[in-house]
Symmetry: C3
Subunit: 244 residues, 3 copies
């Protein structure tokens, strides 16, 4: 049993955040909100999304698992305006998700969740944590893309640095003062694919605050809150081995 | 003999309304205005456009038939701003249409009207008439396109409905109160190609009021006024046979 | 030795003006400013750009020649906002151009200037000079493109005219009063490729004043000032022989 009513904007943001990683996902719906954990087809990047019932105007749910094709969901949601009221209900008889925006009703078939095992997000310990504005980080990612397919993220006691390329080179160094916060026990340095990082950045909005966790040749975890603090998102990306 | 002066906007709208159906058309020009009747190359959709001389700032015409390539006309009109003054004159000596916008003069060759017979718009009797805002109808058409190539329009005594798809389903139902008006003697239900309907919607502007006439396995006629009521437009579309 | 600091906008405009002609250019940097002379790969169009040190907030230079790939430069500049401060410095040790915008640093390799000979701009005498607003000329160029690949520019004692096509015809005639100025000793008439002219127009901004110099079957020279009068630009285009 599941029904949620809220602004179209809420549903747009859910689709946006998750679809940059993968298109077919399982919504774990509980009385304490939505929980989505998904991995990209190449098993390199993961997303974890938790949305509190407070994000919606009305929310009624018992434990339900829904397999959703996000493209299909997006094709109907984009017809609504951000402030339009939308209603999503699981219809148990037809096993379809019913989406209503105004007098428009979309009945959507669902994916078979029995073939979608629960994803385990690895439990990681990060030696460094950096907080900064999404726009600042996005600028570096975009610049890096003009010289390389990879980027190195380095945290030290007093700085966080993004660098890419060798002869054609990009470097963006933040002093501790230029960051919202910096905690770093040991110098941490890892290499990442810009394809994945720049996809993730499409799920992040201008003005959002990022917490970036890094280690040494270790995954990166990028966390942020969205939907007025009613949703928390984490992206996790495996490192690339450095070719030297 | 033909000369019309008016805002570029007037001419843009004429091209816009007709070119969604067909690109080469005959302008029947009389002292009571322009009259265009045209059918698409597959003979499935028609457009009928009547423009009163009041749409223009100056209008002088004796009976004239002009064969116009709308793409060619559009390529010059789009260079003008909506409020610029434009002058269209038929030059009998060179048999060209002369378009002036500011100090820009475009002389355009015309199509041979002798090969463009007058189109007869069939005289149809419709059991149902629905009036609603273009934006509401457009929303349903767009939604339908995400699930099917066809849409069913159904009028009943107290409702008008647009539906598409089966498992993946779209439904948009207007109660009588949600419509500007509804007249329906008998339940009327017909199936239409979304390709054609969505093309027609490109000729209609946000905020315009549509009168939709439907029947049972019968064509649909969509009427609206534009250019401050100085032009009336009707689109006519043949039904598709239902495959079942 | 070379270092210039100024708004990102300044560097954007330099790239914009020159890259419509050619992508790899030599910057001749002197204490009195930048000087760029470049020709397109087909040797049909040239650009000459002179920028005064006053365009920048800080400018320190001894005679330096830098071979610059403008695409590469554009890829970093477009990440800055127009009002952001940018710093461009030649690093003699690594022989790279170092561009800083905020905390972002781009180190760019340079082209070998020894293979880039100084370009001689031919010394031409023009019998006619016309001054007008870029927007007016651009309108005619765009209109001409809808009927032909070539355009004829004609200056007479009391008028300047742009015309293209024969049966499908475009004509834009400016009386002396419609121009900012007109000096014409003898009727001057030349034919030009619209491909080149329309490329050049992409380097010119709305509101800029053009001085157009023409002759009889002779090149055209289009001059304008930009960056608040701190930069002067000239485009030179060879005429086409008329096919008759």
């Amino acid at each position: 049993m599941f029904e949620a009513k809220g602004k179209v904007e809420i549903f747009k943001r859910i689709v946006e955040v998750v679809s940059v990683i993968v298109n077919e996902v399982k919504f774990n719906i509980k009385d304490d909100g939505f929980h989505i954990k998904a991995v990209d087809p190449a098993h390199v990047a993961m997303v974890e999304l938790n949305i509190a019932p407070q994000a919606f105007n009305e929310y009624n749910a018992e434990d339900t698992e829904l397999g959703v094709d996000l493209d299909k969901m997006e094709s109907i949601i984009r017809l609504g305006k951000g402030n339009d009221e939308m209603d999503a209900t699981y219809d148990e008889d037809s096993e379809r998700l019913v989406i209503r925006i105004g007098n428009l009703v979309r009945k959507m078939t669902l994916l078979d969740v029995s073939t979608m095992p629960d994803l385990k997000i690895p439990n990681l310990q990060f030696p460094a944590k950096v907080e900064l504005l999404a726009d600042d980080f996005l600028l570096g990612i975009r610049a890096a893309q003009s010289v390389s397919d990879y980027v190195v993220l380095t945290a030290e006691k007093d700085s966080f640095e993004l660098s890419a390329g060798t002869q054609e080179e990009i470097n963006q160094k933040f002093s501790k003062e230029q960051l919202l916060s910096l905690e770093c026990k040991d110098k941490s340095r890892s290499l990442f694919s810009l394809d994945y990082l720049s996809s993730m950045m499409k799920g992040i909005r201008s003005g959002e605050k990022l917490a970036i966790f890094i280690g040494n040749d270790y995954p990166v975890r990028i966390e942020f809150e969205t939907l007025d603090g009613n949703a928390s998102v984490a992206y996790l990306l495996a490192p690339r081995t450095e070719i030297e």
